[in-house]
Symmetry: C2
Subunit: 319 residues, 2 copies
């Protein structure tokens, strides 16, 4: 039996993942089926299950990696369904947001259905430590989403709140994807810590890039108009730093949620001219660098190389 | 050491429950705190934790009954928070529905926060079988709630759908409250089965009574106007049977969701005159009777007597 039996190629794993995901979310209730089919066929990049499989392979393969991969993706999908209400997002993964088609109610309850499937998958792993980890991640995730709402409602914008939000919303899920594989493989402490750190730092870089591109990206690449966060009253790293440099002008734009047609172009120009855009790019690059540092604690393998390539892909430089 | 050390009185347990519930739902995020305080202080009858403690005591006391009691109540509370969207309920436990105060978004995400606390409590019991059971109950619950929405939207009214809905929405949670205690106590199969059957039948009677009173109860006792379900397009046992007897008149009222001021009084009169009200009362009494039959398989105890009294309290007779 070769190592391949325990650690199949990523493409093989991802194909099996798509098939199993379809199985896992199947419901006898028609309205749930409509929502889930949407989620499943819409696809998305499946970053979180990729992290699970690569972490598993970097450890030589771990039992129940598939259940973990499905569980992290379901947590993410449920949070999208529950977050659509908050976001009032025009588009989600390039498709009309689920709630516009079927109503908020069915979206929320279908999200709950996914969470029930997540619990069943965790039970199948037989590892109570993983149940406890997911409970904590689900707590961080819901707290961060409420905090984001609270910060927007009360204008409590600060670097500290921004970091709490990206940690809870994104980095915590990415971390459990990587660290969870180590738990399933009963990996030694230093390898588990390395994967946990990698996942968390990678997740921070991932969300920071997403937030940066929301303002600075091209509408074509984004698949939606730039500046969506500003229009929703969400302040991210780039707007926080812009606010420090140009408190009056940027403050006024944020306050009116970029209602004027020239507001978003103006923020983009200011970001480049003041050097804030480059500063954010550097902050992302620093997270990527730290993530790579954590990876180096793992033994060399092609899976480790792929994790490295994933992280390097989060660096951004627009000009 | 007496039996009392393992199976304290219900009042003692319920007081400890209220205290622990407050601890468990505490969050550092202010907006979550607002919602949870509302839920905690609003109280409610705490029927589900009562079932846990009485089932535990009927078995002589089981380990982790408190965690189970908290978990079933949190599942119920989360489902109220997620269901407020569906219901558009005017009142909930006599208080303004949470979502009217703080918005749908925070309600949904605070419900998710409660679900994360539920998972943590289940992990604390150390019993993976309980995690798997809750996963199934959460599935049934979300499926039933979506089904209820689907049935109202598509007019798929039938006795079969009504039974699926009350089983999933209410009976499944009541069942896990009772059966879960047996799992924690590693009770012999026949006692576990007896508690599972009791919980399910009790839950059916409980929901059937609730639905019956929604149309037939006095607004004073209900704390809201009668006929709320009809106005929301929900068909329950009494309206299903009324529809069979008077397809045209009742069909027209249901179709216009009792928009005319005389519609609800007319349904009430028809229900009594046609004997449908009495028929529903008898159906509820039959469930109670069957629940008592299941209870008799347990050894005699004061906790068993209290479970019996709870079930007898679900019988209803208005005239």
């Amino acid at each position: 039996m070769s190592i391949k039996d325990f650690a199949p190629e990523l493409t093989t794993l991802m194909a099996a993942f798509e098939e199993q995901l379809r199985e896992v979310v199947r419901s006898e209730v028609e309205f749930i089926r409509l929502i889930e089919e949407d989620l499943v066929t819409a696809g998305g990049k499946r970053v979180r299950p990729r992290l699970v499989f690569l972490s598993s392979n970097a450890l030589g393969g771990v039992p129940h990696a598939m259940e973990l991969a499905l569980a992290v993706e379901l947590l993410h999908s449920a949070s999208l369904l529950h977050d659509d209400l908050v976001d009032d997002a025009e588009t989600r993964r390039g498709k009309e947001a689920a709630f516009r088609k079927y109503g908020n109610a069915v979206s929320v309850l279908s999200g709950d259905y996914l969470l029930s499937r997540l619990m069943a998958l965790l039970a199948q792993t037989g590892r109570m430590e993983l149940v406890a980890m997911f409970a904590e991640v689900a707590r961080e995730l819901s707290e961060a989403e409420v905090l984001q709402f609270q910060v927007a409602a009360l204008g409590e914008h600060s670097l500290e709140n921004y970091e709490r939000i990206i940690d809870g919303k994104t980095a915590s899920v990415m971390r459990v994807a990587c660290e969870g594989a180590a738990v399933l493989g009963q990996a030694p402490f230093h390898l588990r810590e390395a994967l946990a750190r990698f996942g968390r730092l990678y997740g921070q870089a991932f969300q920071m890039r997403d937030d940066y591109l929301d303002l600075m990206g091209s509408p074509e690449a984004l698949g939606k108009p730039a500046g969506g966060d500003v229009r929703e009253g969400k302040v991210t790293l780039i707007t926080l730093w812009l606010l420090e440099r140009h408190p009056e002008e940027v403050g006024a734009i944020l306050k009116r949620k970029a209602r004027e047609p020239e507001d978003i172009p103006r923020l983009r120009t200011l970001a480049v001219e003041s050097g804030v855009a480059q500063q954010v790019e550097a902050a992302i690059a620093a997270r990527v660098e730290a993530a790579l540092g954590a990876l180096r604690l793992l033994p060399a393998s092609s899976a480790r190389d792929e994790l490295e390539a994933l992280a390097l892909g989060e660096r951004v430089r627009l000009r």
